[in-house]
Every structure is written in structure tokens, then in C-alpha cells.
Symmetry: C2
Subunit: 466 residues, 2 copies
Amino acid sequence: MSEKNTSIKPEIPGGFIDLLPEAAIAQETLFAKIRKVYESFGFVPLDTTCLERVDVLTGGDENFNKSIFIAKVVRGAEDKKAAGSEWDDSLGLRFDLTVPLSRVVSAYPELIKPFKRYQIGKVWRGESPQVGRYREFYQCDFDIIGANSILADVEVIQVMNETLIALGLTNFTIRFNTRKILNGLAEAVGCAARAKDFFRVIDKLDKIGVDGVLAELARQPEDAADQTALALPEDKIKKVAEFLQLMDKGQDEILSGIKDFFADSTGLGEAGVKELTEISAALNKIGLPPGRWQIDLSVARGLDYYTGPVFETILNDMPELGSIFSGGRYDGLTNRFMADSNIPGVGASIGLSRLNVALNKLGLLPVKNSVTDVLVTVSEGLEMESIKIAEQLRQAGLNVEIYYGADYTFRAQISFAARKNVPFVVIAGEDEIKAGIVQLKNMSTREQKPLKIGECATEIKNLLNK
Amino acid sequence: MSEKNTSIKPEIPGGFIDLLPEAAIAQETLFAKIRKVYESFGFVPLDTTCLERVDVLTGGDENFNKSIFIAKVVRGAEDKKAAGSEWDDSLGLRFDLTVPLSRVVSAYPELIKPFKRYQIGKVWRGESPQVGRYREFYQCDFDIIGANSILADVEVIQVMNETLIALGLTNFTIRFNTRKILNGLAEAVGCAARAKDFFRVIDKLDKIGVDGVLAELARQPEDAADQTALALPEDKIKKVAEFLQLMDKGQDEILSGIKDFFADSTGLGEAGVKELTEISAALNKIGLPPGRWQIDLSVARGLDYYTGPVFETILNDMPELGSIFSGGRYDGLTNRFMADSNIPGVGASIGLSRLNVALNKLGLLPVKNSVTDVLVTVSEGLEMESIKIAEQLRQAGLNVEIYYGADYTFRAQISFAARKNVPFVVIAGEDEIKAGIVQLKNMSTREQKPLKIGECATEIKNLLNK
């Protein structure tokens, strides 16, 4: 490379992170486990483009208010100088994996329905960088497209449960609700037309409590410009209070309570009661442990596109993390591409950064900067023998490095293995090679013993449970 | 989602492709195999950001002439309207994985050297879309940073060899050379200062033959503006011809031939002869089959950053594909960030799109749009029983779907399995469930037999070699 300028700083932009080997190894392990569970339910991988047309991303919505990265091509230095002049904003980096899924489902009608896909991929948000919030991060979604059956909703809960178990977690609760209950409530208190504002208030329950929510719902507009105040009258506030009181009840009481609550309403509320009843019955019947799930009428999931059941998952020991696995049913997924197509969808997405915090805290992720099982030492003039020994160990299924640093001393080679946390060193000196053996050094016990290479492989595999 | 506009086309931009399930499944299989071999040599994963600072990408080179995507943040609809006005060209999408590697090596000096990493990730090129050339594609690199030893170069050849074998390929040849030989030749014919132009001509050997190359090297400038003509005098042309004649010789003759050729030159040529001699000796000694590799003096690798050995891999039955696995040694990797650091690097990168063409042709990639081993049918009122059976089969290690389409008829369920190429169907009707058995239907033989669930799992696993 001809370098005109050597003062470039090797920096990444704010809000971005590199996954160095230790983090990348942990992440690979995580993804492999997740992928295995998703595939065990028949979900297939999908890999959509990272750049999408901007109108696909925004749905042509003039009020689209997410911060996205839009991209343009710059051809070489000449173009770069003229960058401002030929801006083309037709491409943007995807901000989630749901919009690309809806594009794919619309563009390829030949995909057999129900279409069950998962996707693990990066997404980008143009938000201002702040601690713990990134502008580039992974999402890890699974969705079922084209199934109206409640069995699909039940399966989503099953997949969430088994994924977390596969990651080593056990003490968690999957909380669910349905948007039909909440929409029914909005209907019942005359807020159907302002459902979004209404849910925004209900969503604050954890933070401001029942009284806070009721006060906020009753709040009168401060002035003519105040668009958010809902100003509910007293009888409606009473109705909301009655609903919120149900939340702390046991599962059976909640079900009978909402049945009563919606007894004289038809439509949404009634349909919602039916959904919760059916899902609960199914979970009981298939034997999901009762502590593992609960109906929680406060679960709303902020996004306004959910239309049916909604799911959240709380780690019981770390509720402060919030939901680490969330999702729900949305039946308008493809409508931006095909008006009134109303293709049903239901799925969930892991909150990877929260999950990583939890798994790290619980020691459930590998903490290692190397994947190497054995380092084979090298002696001057006998390098090829070391390569051959390494290859034999590799054929036996081990991850093997040979040493090829500049400093050939024994001490340097052992120190290299120690710094990289390589658990075993195979010493292949002149005497050993002549005798057809090697010395196997266990780096944690510091023990060393002479073995034939075949024995050596068996011993290491036993000790590593490989 | 409130959709203001339902006329959005579900299109991707030109030059981009989605990997639908069949392609994504094949790709996952491919990546898993590659990853396994890379890790078996102790290479660790690295996951760098997709967006980099533009000065990092270009190295501050004013003559940087690649087409890259640069990106800016647009915050919501308001910003979008004002897009032209506040262009910020400080971020760009990476065009390869080598520049990010050099940034990481420079930014994190604590990484233990030799640092062996692999990275599988997407890169973006702003080039004009054309058939078979994409603007977004995967690269799959492995590199060794901080090792001067020839053992590292030998290992790169070993990794290339074992990766291709793991993918099912056997009939391929790894051709190698060193840039020191070519630079030595340029030196010997007085072209050291114009090495780039000189190599561009040598690189055409496959296309225009020896005579074509010699004629092009001898060509006089057409006019004063013609900067590419090298106008070599007759004695230098004779020297190049002498060199090119060596190319068709056997391996031993090439080695002795270049030894003679560079007998009276010092420096680069001599060092190059030493490199080729040592690598050949090593490959012989460690038993890489002689047909699997060869010294090829025509291998140059276009990029000018290589400084030592260079590698290419040809499929003997499909030479027209060009090199499917290429790389080399470059010792100025980090110089753009740390002047004169001259940290040595050597590695290689798989040409994934070419490889895919070859593997498809040879039937070495899975062609399936499903990962499901078994579909469990569902009967009205007995859905929960089906879920429980599915879960038992899953616990036995199978990938299992239950049917939850709208049409519950047996015919619809079998047809669904057939269209998705699911190899087995487990029929759990009322009679079977009462009798504590299921019917196992083999979709390829059409055979059907009653089995207990445990037997069923064993039978399927045997037939699928799982």
C-alpha cells in the first residue's frame, strides 16, 4: 500500500464497538446455541441485505421518525471531493430485521407458508451514542409468517423457553398478554382513537405506579399545544383502576377477572380473553413449569404494530435488566408493500446486549481469548517434525497451534502458551523426537509426562471433555 | 404500523441479493466447515464494525480510487427533507476485512503476537452492478500477524489445503510464488521504479501469452501522454523471455533455473529463491501431496501490497473460475496508522462466490429449503398431544415441526411436508394416541409403520445418520 499519510488514527466512530477475540468467541458460542434451538423447531436461516431502499425502510411514511444511516457511493478521490453535490438518498442501512422480513415475504410469494425463519444479523441506528447504547448491533429474531393458529403463539413461547435453557438460564419468567386486552381496555374507556398515547401511559406502570398512571390519564392539557394529555373523566379512571387492580392477582383470578371486566363488551376484549385462556391452557397442558410463565396485564410492548399476544422475559434475579427476550403477534407486516394483505406474523427477538450482561454476571459465557487446545513447541532444525505432530493431533479433533515466534527458547514458548491461556503444551525436542514420543505439559497442574502422540491426543481430549 | 403509503415496492437495490433459506442453509453449512478448520489451527474470530471512519478506509490516500459507500445519519422525516444540506462523509462501509484488521492490530497493541485471527463478514463495494458482481458480499479471511517465520507461510498453505478438503474438494492445485522473485525480475530489467506497470503486463500472461507479454513490454509510447508503455530494450526483453521460459518447467528445474537466473544479482531475487526453496522443502517434508501444490512464477496477485510469498488456488477441472483461495505476505499492514511499524502479516481469503459456483456444480452443497427432519401432524382437539410428541423427538436431537396451517386435513399436512422436502412425517391421530404409538411415514419410500415414540426417534436418526 502506498501510504501518503501515516498520521491516520486507528479509531472507530463513537457508538461502535469491535468484538475482539474474547468477545467474538463468546458471541460465536452464544449464536451457535441459539441457532441450534431455532433450527430444532424447523426455523430456517435467512440472510437479507444490510442496505435497503430508503422507501422500503420508512414504508414511505412521511412521519417516519427513526434515525437511520443512509448511504451513497463515492467512486474514488475525485468523487469524494464532490461529495456534497450528488447526494443520492435511496439506500439506507436496515434498522431492524422485521422490515427486511416483510419485504422478503412480499417479494417472494413462492415461499411456503407458514414460513418460519430466523435471522442473526447486524442492524444500525443513527441514535446519539451513549453508554451501553450502540449504533451497530446484532439482532437475533425468529418469526412465523402466515399462521393464524394459536399453536404458533404457543410455539413462540416454547422457543423462547428452550433457547434460554440452552444458554444455561433457568430462573426466568415469560410474561405475556395480548394487545386485544389492552385495545379492549382503550375501547372501554373511550381511548380507541388515541390508543398510542394511552398505551404510552400504561407502559409507565413499572416506573410511576398505579397512582401515577391514573393521575397521568386524568391530566388536563396544560395549554392548547399540549397534545399528549388524555383528560379521562372520573368514571373512566375508575374503570382503568379496576383493570389495574387485576394485575397483582393470581393467574386464575386474572383470567376470571378480565372475563368479568369485559363481560358487557364485545369484540376486542372478548377475543383477548379467549387468547389468554387458550395460551394458558396450552402451556399447562404441554407441561411448561408454572413458575416459568405468567399472564401479566401490564405487558404492552411499546411498538404499535402488535395486534395479538405480546411476550416479555424477565430474569427473576435481575429484573432491572428489563425484558431479555420479547415479541408478539403482528398481522399487518406486509401491508406497506401489499395493501390489506394482512398476512399474520408472530415471533420474538433476543435482547442480546442485556442477555450478554446477564450471562457474563452468571459466568455462563466462555471467557477465553484463544480456541487453541494445544501448542506444539518448535526446535531449531526440527520445525517440520513439530508441524507433523501438530497435524496428527489436529486429525484427532484438537485445535492445535505450532509456535513460530521469533524467540525459539523454551521459556519464550511456554510463556506464549501461558499468556494465551492454552491449556496444554506438547514439547517436541530432539530427544523426544528420536524416541518417538512427546512430553505433554498440563499448563494448569504444571505436570509433564512422556507419551506417544496417539496417547497424548486421547489424554487431552479426555481432560477437555472433547 | 401506520402505513401512509401502500405502493412501496418490495425491491432490493441493483447489485444486492438476499440469501433465501436454500442459499442461507448452504452458506451456514459452508461457514461452519470453514470456521472449524480455521479454529483447528488456533485462529480466533474477530468481529469488527461494518462502518469505519473514511480516513481509516482510505488511509488518507488522496489517490484512493476504490468505490466505497459512505454513510450519514438521517434523524426522522425532517432531517430527510434536508438531506443534501448537512452531508457528513466521515463514515464509510468497509470494502474488505484487511483494513479493519490493520486498524485493530494498531489500536490494540496488547493483542498477543503472533496474532492469528479469522473473520467472516460482509463487505461493500460501490462498483456498478453487473452480472455476477455484487455490491454487498461476504469475505472469509484468515491472517497471521507478527510472524516473520516461513513456518507461518507454510501454515497458510496448509490451512488453504485443509479448508478445501473439508469442503469436499480434492482436485485442486495451490500455486505459489513470491513477490521478491518478481520484484527481483523488475530490478534485473531496470523496472524497479515502475514495478506496478511491469506487473500489470506480466499478469496478463494467461490471456495474451508469452509473445503478447514481450510485445507489450517492448511497446514504445504512442504519444507523450502514454504513461503505460514500458519500452524495454532488446536485452531486457531477452532477460524477461529467459525468465518466462522457466515457467513451464518442472518444480526442480524452476528452482535451479531461478537460482541461475539470479546468480549474479543480490538482494530481492536471491531472497526470493530462498523463500521458494524453503517453502517447497517444507511442503515436501510435511507430506502435502506433490500434485496439490506447485511453484508458479506467473502468480503475482494484482494488489501491490504483497511483499513476500503469494498464493492462488485453481480447481483443476474448472480453471476458468480463476483462483478460489488466494493470499500472501504483506509487511506494511499497519504502516498507515504507525509509520514504519512494518508489522509482518500473511494470510489468505476465500473467493466465496467462485467457490459457491464450484461447489454447486460438484453437488457439494446442501440443496434444501428446510432444516426440518420430521413434521408431526395435528388433529382437531389433539394439538397438545402433537406438541408433546414433537418435544420428545426434539429432545432426542431431531429438528421437528408441528403442523399449524389452516387446513387440518391429512392431505394438506402431507402435502405441506412434501413441498418443504421434510423427509419424515409422524402421524399422531386419535387412534395412535390412544394406543400410545405414532405412525412414522418415510416421505421418500412412502412406507408407513406404527412405532413407539422412542423407537421412532431412533429410526429417524439412523436413517438420517444423525
